[in-house]
Symmetry: C2
């Protein structure tokens, strides 16, 4: 289902990463279960991810100074390890587990979809993940970004307008020449409020097959696509 093609095609496509490009739920669940066989990996992954928004709010409120997502992930990890009764992990094991967020696999359509989209657009990340994390992830998973942009560049997390408008400023474009591509309506709404075009990507299994996600379209988005291959079709790539 598509809205009409906008008259002004976006020059830059900026992608949300966790959930939109990579499958964090399966990746984290798999790594936790490999390290701690008795644990429910799915529940552990959901708990870890649930701690993410409150932790970022602590930074944005000023309670914490500017903090990389790697370090926020570690703060949350300490809390949920205790909750799940996993108090005997070594420091090395904890560091390795925390880096599981660097080792997430892309959804099956992603590498082919990005490669097609890159042929006619500049493609970049716009993630709250830090630059090092996004670079390691891209190298491991062969994600063909033209450029890695992050909250770390703008010193603000999404949905702060400084992030969406920052992409336009980096490329010396009007906001309407940039499109945010994301699987989350709140992220897209914040980008739209800044004047960006928006593309919603369905990721019904983002939270695992036991927790299907609402993937209803919002007609306010410029595009609604099943995956990145469908978005490439929509954009004529």
């Amino acid at each position: 289902m598509n809205t009409p093609h906008p008259s002004n095609p976006a020059k830059v496509l900026a992608f949300d990463v966790f959930g939109t490009v990579v499958d964090w739920h399966s990746g984290i669940a798999r790594e936790v279960q490999a390290l701690c066989p008795g644990v429910d990996g799915s529940e552990f992954a959901l708990a870890w991810r649930t701690g993410y928004q409150p932790a970022m709010r602590r930074v944005m409120s000023g309670e914490l100074g500017w903090t990389l997502i790697d370090d926020l992930h570690r703060l949350i990890l300490e809390q949920i390890l205790e909750k799940f009764g996993l108090t005997d992990l070594t420091e090395t094991q904890k560091q390795h587990l925390n880096k599981a967020w660097h080792r997430l696999d892309p959804w099956p359509d992603v590498v082919a979809g990005l490669t097609r989209l890159k042929s006619r657009h500049t493609i970049c990340t716009l993630s709250n993940g830090n630059i090092g994390l996004l670079t390691h992830m891209a190298k491991r998973a062969a994600l063909p970004w033209d450029c890695i942009l992050s909250a770390e560049v703008f010193r603000a997390y999404k949905p702060d307008p400084a992030t969406y408008l920052g992409v336009a400023r980096v490329f010396n474009l009007a906001p309407a020449e940039v499109m945010l591509v994301a699987a989350h309506q709140d992220d897209l709404a914040a980008a739209r409020a800044c004047g960006l075009q928006t593309a919603y990507i369905e990721r019904p299994a983002e939270f695992g097959s036991a927790h299907p996600k609402d993937i209803s379209p919002n007609l306010a988005n410029t595009w609604h696509a099943k995956d990145l291959l469908a978005l490439a079709d929509n954009l004529g790539c």
Copy 2:
């Protein structure tokens, strides 16, 4: 000619861009001459580049606020157009000419050299050029960066230590795990003072064949290589 292989190989190779990766002199000279056939393209390119360091000093001294290199290039361009008697260019022509810095060609060894180096290292830019410029250049010239880092990320120009140490911080590494690769001894000396490894690349024609450059080795560098293919040989890539 090589110094011994260091015991601690660098995980990240950060590359200076103008002169080290791309041939700014030929590129600018060619574009100026195409636009203004009567002008000495080589002299124009040298004058434009000569304005670069003083312009950055005006920013770092606080006389100018933080300014992207695209905008510094434009400030300098206005001065040298007058000096070369080219006062009849249209605004569109000036904007196009200013973007010639986005359209520079790599030296012949670069794409193959970077591709080999990328197989065993994370490769990124560390340039005073802005992110948009470096992204456009990489896309046009197929430079396979893992990540584009720039003065724009660190809000400081090289040789400010914040830039060299910023690369280490982004990747959560010790300075000695990062190597600056550059064709300029002053850039390398500043990186070395921050604890980075350094590799000097010979680019004898950086200023044009009429102005050969001193490419004498400095034994303080970790490596001295003819080009990026030789550096890949040195690093076992």
